[in-house]
């Protein structure tokens, strides 16, 4: 017998596993963000490259140093890379590379490591890093520039359409887009032609009309954080996460659902809005809401295990985010909303588990 002497390593039943594994899931999350990175670089050139690089490099380096101290190697689980990417996604382009680097280092060192490493952190590290940046560099974090491709030059500063629109509230315009346009916010030629095409070919048959400007929002021809710049890529990435069932779909749907309903009813402080007439599409597309809802709020470590409780968690985030957006004028409202619910998750679980948690099966023994 050829194989007689060959020993097989000790393993326990079960010998089969689902293909999803913690590190695979993290790697896939990072991978699907790649198009966002590429698109933002196409839009902002160096202004984007420096931010992505400094954030990711700082996250990886910090993790490496921490690993060295603990004599282990955890880089391959991919969590440091993902943290770096997510922190960068919330940064305005052309920001000093020192800020994303500091935010990522804070996320890894303080939030991830001091709370006990992977699985121990009761707050999403990247969100904490982003909040850290907002707290320490409030001005720099709100200085946006126009995409190089739109402005023709690098780093022409501009406020985000969201902040811009807030400033225009009460300007008497019928639509937020028109108000923005009126105030001289640029509209790309591509948007005009594509919107025109869509209106002629599809929407006219449906008796509807897509106003100009939304295509620009989706492809990032506007100023905004890096992650916002490729809304279509973010949506695509989110669909992949859902399709592969890597996130609890209840969380993003509850967030976006509750936010959209509230925004629809009360508006988010934009021009041309009235009760029951909020511009939902506009509200959803801004402020990195979708990216945060799918990639940060769903971090399993800091969100409820049980799906029903996770739904409540998501609804609460949506409401909080709306409150921050409507009255706080914070584009970063979503970050604070999720962080608050992260912190409340243990309480939520303790209170709701007896009511909503899994019920033991009825057995004959």
């Amino acid at each position: 017998m050829m194989y007689t002497q060959k020993e097989f390593p000790d393993t326990h039943a079960p010998h089969l596993h689902d293909w999803r594994s913690t590190s695979k899931v993290v790697w896939i999350c990072s991978l699907v963000l790649l198009p966002v990175v590429v698109w933002s670089i196409a839009l902002y050139r160096w202004a984007a490259i420096t931010v992505w690089l400094s954030s990711v490099a700082s996250a990886l380096l910090t993790q490496l140093v921490v690993d060295g101290l603990f004599k282990r190697f955890t880089l391959r689980d991919g969590t440091a890379l993902l943290t770096g990417l997510l922190v960068a996604s919330a940064m305005p382009p052309a920001i000093s590379p020192f800020i994303p680097a500091a935010a990522s280092a804070f996320a890894i060192l303080v939030v991830k490591t001091l709370f006990g490493g992977l699985g121990g952190n009761w707050m999403n590290p990247s969100l904490a890093g982003i909040a850290f940046a907002y707290a320490n560099w409030p001005v720099a974090m709100r200085e946006y520039v126009l995409p190089t491709v739109l402005a023709g030059v690098d780093g022409l500063s501009s406020s985000t359409p969201l902040a811009f629109a807030h400033g225009l509230a009460g300007s008497g315009q019928a639509r937020v887009m028109d108000a923005i346009r009126q105030a001289g916010y640029p509209l790309s030629g591509m948007d005009e032609s594509l919107t025109g095409f869509l209106n002629d070919s599809i929407f006219s048959h449906l008796g509807a009309r897509l106003p100009e400007g939304y295509i620009d929002l989706a492809v990032g021809f506007k100023s905004g954080a890096l992650g916002e710049s490729a809304l279509f890529a973010v949506i695509l990435a989110s669909i992949i996460l859902l399709a592969l069932r890597l996130v609890k779909y209840e969380i993003p749907l509850a967030i976006l659902g509750s936010f959209a309903i509230l925004a629809g009813i009360f508006g988010t402080g934009l021009p041309g809005e009235f009760i029951m007439g909020g511009d939902v599409l506009y509200a959803l597309s801004g402020g990195g809401l979708i990216l945060a809802a799918f990639f940060m709020a769903t971090d399993p470590v800091s969100s409820p295990v049980d799906r029903k409780i996770a739904t409540i968690y998501g609804l609460a985030i949506g409401v909080l985010c709306f409150v921050f957006r409507r009255w706080g004028n914070h584009t970063e409202g979503i970050a604070y909303a999720i962080l608050i619910m992260n912190v409340l998750t243990p309480t939520l679980e303790r209170r709701l588990e007896p009511l909503l948690g899994p019920k033991p099966a009825r057995t004959s023994v």
Binding site: M1, F8, H12, A13, H17, T22, G120, P360, R362
Partner: protein, 432 residues
């Protein structure tokens, strides 16, 4: 398909079944050396050795006698010389006794036309005696079939279920046996009917079991004067576990409705013992997994090293990551290929990394996959937390002892935490 049943909570959908076309089941070559393990797979207790080293034995000759409840008669699977008798301990301290027999002499069972006893003239006591004498084991658990039937005396109107379910992507032996030996299995049901005095027998079939075969099965049953009630079950792991079949048949009411559950392989052994006067010295073994050249089912003698069976299936196409005895979710791993076929061996699998998806253990990330998988409605991740902290009492309060060790949670676990292994340790800790 009418009315496919399933249990209510949890469970996992395993990847599609491996396609498997089998011809008639063939006999495996006789092993040069057969290693017969004397310990009961269910109790670990050893039967009394009835031969000495150097002695010549016939095929089917008694080599170890049952020694009270929880032990079984053992017979020589091949004709030959008793080479070695070992009464020792495993590496982990558990007692293990084996008899090694080297092939020699002539065959008496193989090649001969099987005898056919007119068992209908036998009474209940005679049949029970044969079951005990021939060392028939319940293949799924290793318990003595005699003990099981003996304990059931006095159960009025017991409900018997013939369990042909296999829920993992590989094992196909039970369905194949039911298809190939349906007449014998039906006969065995008639024998069981005589012992149990039961009117109705439920046949548990998977959703993919061919409809045409069901008709012929019902036909055979009618001829043998047993009444079959066919129940289809959804392919969802771990539906094949007796507790979940029971739960499903009771419509999730929590009342036990099944008194006895046996699988086609056990019924085949029962038939061979009573009708063909054959001791339990053969097992149908499915040989498969991604590292095996050609999946097949062989009828192998007890004591055959699993390496021989892999070789007979064309050997390995690559290096297997793990060798599993029996189903890949609850089965044990084989440390090497000298492990011998026992009365409980139904499958041997050589699995590759692409199939196992094994990975390094990471901390729990609270993904909740285990909660969704658990058919008992437990929270495996929470139990694991208590296991890590050594809090057996806390875990027991949260249902540790309701855990059936089905392995669904550990299959689903993102972080590859050996949940079941940990729970089993904790259970034995709590009991001691």
């Amino acid at each position: 398909m009418s009315n496919v049943r399933s249990f209510r909570h949890g469970g996992i959908l395993l990847p599609q079944r491996i396609h498997f076309d089998h011809g008639p089941i063939e006999n495996a070559f006789l092993p040069i050396n057969a290693i017969v393990v004397l310990n009961s797979a269910s109790t670990g207790r050893t039967s009394r050795i009835a031969v000495t080293e150097g002695e010549e034995v016939r095929e089917g000759q008694l080599i170890a006698r049952f020694d009270g409840k929880g032990t079984l008669n053992a017979h020589s699977p091949i004709p030959g010389i008793v080479r070695k008798i070992i009464a020792g301990k495993n590496a982990d301290g558990t007692a293990v006794s084996t008899i090694t027999i080297s092939l020699a002499g002539s065959f008496s069972v193989l090649g001969k036309k099987p005898e056919r006893y007119l068992w209908k003239s036998l009474n209940k006591t005679d049949i029970m005696h044969i079951v005990q004498e021939k060392g028939v084991a319940r293949v799924s658990s290793g318990e003595s079939l005699y003990d099981i039937l003996h304990d059931m005396r006095g159960t009025s109107a017991p409900r018997f279920v013939l369990n042909a379910l296999e829920m993992d992507p590989y094992c196909r032996a039970e369905e194949a046996i039911l298809l190939e030996r349906s007449a014998d299995i039906v006969d065995a049901c008639a024998i069981l009917k005589k012992i149990l005095q039961t009117a109705t027998m439920t046949v548990a079939l998977g959703e993919s079991f061919p409809e045409a075969e069901v008709a012929s099965l019902l036909n055979l049953a009618e001829k043998a004067e047993v009444h079959f009630e066919i129940q289809r079950f959804r392919r969802r792991y771990p539906q094949d576990m007796p507790s979940l079949i029971d739960r499903t048949l009771s419509r999730n009411s929590g009342k036990a409705v099944v008194s006895l559950m046996l699988e086609p392989s056990t019924m085949a052994a029962l038939h061979d013992a009573v009708v063909s006067n054959k001791a339990h010295i053969e097992q149908y073994v499915y040989i498969g997994g991604g590292a095996v050249k050609e999946s097949r089912i062989l009828k192998a003698r007890i004591g055959t090293p699993i390496g021989d069976l892999f070789e007979e299936s064309g050997g390995f196409t690559g290096r297997p990551e793990v060798i599993v005895v029996n189903d890949p979710l609850r089965g044990t791993m084989a440390g090497n290929l000298d492990v011998a076929v026992e009365k409980t061996t139904r499958a041997i699998l050589a699995l590759t990394h692409d199939e196992t998806h094994s990975a390094r253990e990471l901390p729990c990330v609270r993904c909740g996959a285990c909660v969704r998988a658990c058919p008992e409605g437990l929270k495996p991740w929470a139990l694991n937390k208590y296991a890590m902290a050594g809090l057996v009492g806390e875990a027991a309060d949260r249902g540790l002892y309701r855990c059936t060790s089905c392995g669904a949670c550990a299959y689903a676990c993102w972080s590859r935490i050996p949940l079941v292994d940990r729970f089993e340790r904790m259970k034995s800790q709590g009991q001691s």
